[in-house]
C-alpha cells in the first residue's frame, strides 16, 4: 500500500467517523431540544427572576433616576418628589400602579395602599410637592420609605437572596439579620438538610438488609419479592402518603392497636415523625434497587473464598462483601438524599406544623404570595446547595465508584 493510498484511507476513516458522529448527534438532537425547551430554559428564566427587579425601574423611571443620585441619608432630593408625582400620575392612568404597589409592599408593609392612595390623587399635586405628599400621608416624610423606593429602583437586586437568608436592609442600605420572631428560612434550610440526612440514613438501615435478602433468594421468589418492592414504587405518591395518614392518625390503625394493647396513643402524624416515616417509605425503593442490582453482580465465590481462608462470616461480609456493594448503596444514598431535599407534597400532607421543609415555602411564594423573586432565590440556594454537595461527594467518594447496577 502506497503512502498516498494510506493517507486516502485515513481520510476516508476520518470522514466516515465524522458522518457517524453527525448521525449520532442528529439522533440526540430532539432530546437536546426537548431538554432545552422544558428544562434548561425554564430553570434559567426562573433563576434570573431571583436577581432581576425591573418593576420600579421601568414603571417609575423618573423616580428611579432621581433617587439613584441620592445617597440614602437624610431627606431625598426635591427632584425625587416631582419625579414621583409625575410617575404616579402616569402609572395611575396606565393601570400599572398595582404592580408597583405589590412590588413595594415586599419591601415595606403598607406601601401598597400608600402608593395606590397617593397615585389616585397625584394629578392634583402642585408645588411644593413635598407638602402635597405629606398631606396625603405623613409616611412620605420618613426617609426610610424613600430608602425602600431607592433600593427597589435598581434593576438588579441582591434583596431576594438576602431575604432568603433572613436578612433585610435599612434605608441607608445596611444589611442586618431579621428580628428573631421573623427568622425562618435558615432554620428551614437546616431542617431540610437534616431531614434529607436522616431519611437517607433510615433508608440505608432498612434498605440495605432488604436488598441483601432479595439478592440471596432463589430466582423465583426473588422476582416475587422484587415485585413487592416495586409495587409501592409504581403506586401514586399521593395514595401512599394518604395511606400513611390512615395508618398513623390518632384513631388510626397503629394507635388503635397500641391502645388495644394497653399503651398510650402517640402523635405519629402531622409532625416531624410523620414526615420522616412517610418520606422514608416513599424513597426506600431508590435505595433498595441500586444496592440490590450491585449485590447481584458480586460473585458469591468471593465470600466463600474468604471464609475458607479463615475469615469469620462477619469479617468476610465486612471486609469483602460490603466494600464491593458500597458503590450501589452510595448511589442509592445520593439519589435518596437529593430527592429528599426537594420533597414537598409529602411534608405538606403529613408534616403538620413542625415537619415542613424549604420546598413548602417555595410553593407558598410561587402560589400564594406571588413573590416569585423570593421563590426563585430560595430555589436557587437549594439548587446551589445540591450542586455543592454533589461536587463534595464526587471529590470524596468519586463518581466513578457510583453504580446503579
Amino acid at each position: 500500500m502506497s503512502a498516498h493510498q494510506g493517507a486516502k484511507l485515513a481520510e476516508q476513516f476520518r470522514l466516515s467517523g465524522k458522518r457517524a458522529r453527525r448521525g449520532t448527534f442528529l439522533l440526540v438532537l430532539p432530546l437536546l431540544a426537548f431538554l432545552m425547551a422544558t428544562f434548561i430554559f425554564p430553570i434559567g428564566a426562573m433563576l434570573s427572576r431571583s436577581i432581576e427587579d425591573p418593576t420600579v425601574a421601568t414603571l417609575l423611571p423618573r423616580t428611579a433616576a432621581a433617587l439613584r443620585s441620592w445617597n440614602g441619608k437624610g431627606r431625598p432630593p426635591f427632584s425625587a418628589y416631582s419625579a414621583l408625582a409625575d410617575d404616579l400620575k402616569r402609572a395611575n392612568l396606565e393601570g400599572t400602579i398595582g404592580k408597583v404597589a405589590t412590588r413595594m409592599n415586599f419591601e415595606r408593609a403598607g406601601m401598597r395602599s400608600l402608593l395606590i392612595k397617593t397615585a389616585r390623587v397625584a394629578h392634583t399635586f402642585e408645588l411644593p410637592y413635598a407638602q402635597a405628599f405629606n398631606a396625603v400621608d405623613l409616611q412620605w416624610s420618613e426617609p426610610e420609605l424613600w430608602g425602600a423606593l431607592r433600593h427597589a429602583s435598581a434593576s438588579t437586586t441582591a434583596g431576594y437572596y438576602a431575604s432568603a437568608l433572613d436578612y433585610s436592609r435599612t434605608a441607608d442600605g445596611k444589611w442586618h439579620q431579621r428580628a428573631e420572631e421573623d427568622q425562618i428560612y435558615v432554620t428551614l434550610f437546616i431542617r431540610t438538610l437534616w431531614v434529607a440526612g436522616v431519611v437517607t440514613g433510615l433508608c440505608f438501615l432498612l434498605g440495605y438488609p432488604l436488598a441483601y435478602f432479595i439478592a440471596h433468594l432463589d430466582e423465583r421468589s426473588r422476582n416475587l419479592v422484587l415485585i413487592l418492592v416495586l409495587l409501592p414504587f409504581w403506586t401514586s405518591l399521593l395514595v401512599r402518603t394518604t395511606a400513611w395518614i390512615a395508618l398513623l392518625q390518632t384513631n388510626g390503625v397503629v394507635n388503635d392497636t397500641l391502645a388495644a394493647l394497653g399503651g398510650e396513643r402517640l402523635d405519629l402524624i402531622h409532625n416531624m415523625t410523620g414526615t420522616l416515616i412517610a418520606m422514608t417509605h416513599i424513597l426506600l425503593p431508590f435505595m433498595v434497587l441500586p444496592a440490590y442490582s450491585v449485590m447481584l453482580s458480586v460473585p458469591p465465590a468471593l465470600t466463600r473464598a474468604a471464609i475458607s481462608l479463615g475469615a469469620s462470616p462477619w469479617t468476610a461480609f465486612w471486609r469483602v462483601y460490603f466494600p464491593m456493594t458500597l458503590p450501589g448503596a452510595a448511589a442509592g444514598g445520593l439519589l435518596v438524599f437529593i430527592l429528599a431535599l426537594g420533597y414537598y407534597i409529602t411534608p405538606a400532607l403529613v408534616g403538620g406544623r413542625t415537619g415542613q421543609l424549604i420546598s413548602n415555602m417555595i410553593e407558598f411564594h410561587m402560589k400564594t404570595s406571588l413573590n416569585w423573586g423570593l421563590a426563585a432565590a430560595l430555589g436557587g440556594i437549594l439548587l446551589g446547595g445540591v450542586l455543592v454537595l454533589y461536587i463534595v461527594y464526587a471529590r470524596v467518594v468519586g463518581l466513578n465508584r457510583l453504580r446503579l447496577g
Binding site: 409592599n105 401598597r112 442490582s293
Partner: protein, 404 residues
C-alpha cells in the same frame, strides 16, 4: 440480571416521565381544540343571530365567538351549587356552553396564563383578597358595575350588594364564614358556646383544628377570643403590640392544634375524632351536619365573614359572554337559588328573603346563612385591603411561628 433490571427500571422511569410531560402538553393542546370544536358545534345548532349571543366577530378563525366559556371554581359541593344555580340556566337561556374547571385558589395560574398570553380560563371564582391582588397586578378585566341588573324592587346593584361586594374587577356571589365547630358527643356535660371556649383547653379538652395557610383568620380569631371588640381588630393588629398579643394567645393552644389545609379536612378531622373542635368553612360543616347527619354544632359567635367573587381573566377571548355570564349569575334569583345547594349567604340583600329549602332535605336554609341576623350578631368582615398591605410581614412571622 442486575444490569438488565437497572436498565429496565431506568427506561421505565424515563418513559413514564416523558409520557407524562407529553400527555400534559398534548392535554393542553386538546383542551383548546375541544373548546374550539364546541364553539363550532354550538354555532351550527344555534345561529348567533337569535340575539342571545354576541354577533359573530370579524376574526372568524379565532375561537372568540363566545359560544362556550371556561368557568373555574373550587370543585366539590361548591361547584355543584354553581352548576345548578348558574351554569344550567345560563346554558338554557343563551346556548353558551360552560366548561367547568376545578382549581385550588390562589392567582398563580392566572398570572402564568396572562404573562404567557395563553389565556384558557375565562371566568374565575376567587376569594376577594386574591381578586384584589390580581386586579392590582392587571390580571383581571374591569367590570362595570352599571351593567349588573338591579334588584327586583329597583334597588341598583351597588346598593343591593353587601359592603365591598362590587370591586373594580370582581362581583361577589356569596358570603362565607369562618366559624368554630365542635363534636357534641365530646362535650356532653358542658357544651362550648362562644369563641373564647375554643382557646380554653382546660374546660373544653381535646385537640383543635386550625387553618395553616395564613395568619389571616387565625390572628383575628385569637384577638376576638382575647376580648378585642370587632371594630378594633384591625386597629389592634396594626401595632406590634397587637400582633404580639395575637401570637401570645395562639401560643396558649399551639401544642394542641392539628393544622388543616383544605376545606374538606375540618369535618373529616372532627368525624375521625382527631380534634374535638375546629375552625372551618360554615358550608362544609353544614354539609356534614345536615346531609351526612354528623353530631356537629357551629359556634357563630365571633365568626369571620369573607366574600367570594367572580372575575374575568385579562385577555379572555370571550369577554362579552363572560360579562354576560357574571351579570346573570349574580342577579337576585340566581344567588338565592344557589343557597338551596350550599349554606353560603347570597351577596345581595334582595336575595336573602328568597332563600328557600335545601334541595334534598326538607329544611329551611335561612337559619344556616352566615348573614342571617341571629348568626351575625358578633360577626366581622375580614378586611381584605388591610391584609393586602400587611400580608408579607405577617406571613413571614406566621411561617416562623409555625416552624418553631
Amino acid at each position: 440480571m442486575g444490569r438488565t433490571t437497572a436498565i429496565i427500571i431506568a427506561a421505565a422511569a424515563a418513559v413514564v416521565i416523558l409520557a407524562g410531560v407529553l400527555l400534559f402538553m398534548l392535554g393542553r393542546g386538546t383542551e383548546k381544540d375541544v373548546n374550539q370544536m364546541d364553539d363550532e358545534l354550538s354555532e351550527m345548532k344555534l345561529p348567533a343571530s337569535d340575539g342571545t349571543g354576541p354577533a359573530p366577530s370579524v376574526a372568524a378563525a379565532a375561537p372568540a365567538t363566545g359560544n362556550s366559556l371556561v368557568v373555574v371554581s373550587w370543585g366539590g359541593a361548591y361547584t355543584k351549587s354553581q352548576i345548578e344555580a348558574y351554569h344550567k340556566p345560563f346554558e338554557a337561556k343563551t346556548g353558551v356552553k360552560i366548561n367547568s374547571v376545578d382549581y385550588n385558589g390562589g392567582i398563580a395560574e392566572i398570572k402564568v396564563q396572562v404573562e404567557a398570553k395563553n389565556v384558557t380560563w375565562d371566568v374565575v371564582d376567587m376569594e376577594l383578597a386574591d381578586a384584589q391582588l390580581a386586579c392590582d397586578e392587571g390580571l383581571l378585566e374591569k367590570i362595570d358595575a352599571g351593567t349588573l341588573p338591579a334588584a327586583p324592587d329597583g334597588t341598583p346593584a351597588l346598593q343591593d350588594f353587601v359592603p365591598n361586594g362590587i370591586t373594580p374587577c370582581a362581583v361577589t356571589t356569596i358570603l362565607f364564614s369562618h366559624i368554630v365547630a365542635f363534636d357534641t358527643t365530646k362535650f356532653e356535660t358542658k357544651k362550648p358556646s362562644k369563641l373564647a371556649d375554643f382557646f380554653n383547653v382546660k374546660d373544653f379538652p381535646g385537640k383543635r383544628g386550625m387553618r395553616k395557610k395564613s395568619p389571616k383568620i387565625n390572628l383575628e380569631l385569637a384577638l376576638r377570643a382575647d376580648g378585642v371588640a370587632g371594630d378594633k381588630v384591625y386597629e389592634t393588629l396594626s401595632t406590634k403590640a397587637g400582633v404580639d398579643r395575637a401570637f401570645k394567645k395562639l401560643d396558649t393552644i399551639k401544642d394542641s392544634v392539628v393544622w388543616w389545609e383544605a376545606g374538606a379536612q375540618p369535618p373529616q378531622l372532627l368525624a375521625d375524632g382527631e380534634v374535638t373542635m375546629t375552625t372551618g368553612y360554615n358550608g362544609r360543616i353544614f354539609d356534614a351536619q345536615i346531609v351526612e347527619g354528623k353530631p356537629f354544632e357551629i359556634i357563630w359567635d365571633g365568626q369571620l365573614q369573607e366574600l367570594d367573587v367572580l372575575g374575568i381573566v385579562k385577555g379572555s377571548s370571550k369577554l362579552e359572554a363572560a360579562l354576560q355570564f357574571i351579570a346573570f349569575a349574580t342577579d337576585t334569583q340566581r344567588l338565592a337559588d344557589q343557597a338551596k345547594w350550599i349554606a353560603y349567604g347570597p351577596a345581595r340583600k334582595s336575595s336573602l328573603p328568597l332563600v328557600g329549602k335545601h334541595f334534598a332535605k326538607d329544611i329551611d336554609m335561612k337559619p344556616y346563612m352566615p348573614n342571617a341576623p341571629q348568626n351575625s350578631t358578633n360577626a366581622i368582615q375580614i378586611d381584605f385591603l388591610w391584609w393586602a398591605d400587611h400580608q408579607e410581614e405577617l406571613n413571614q412571622r406566621w411561617a416562623a411561628w409555625l416552624a418553631k
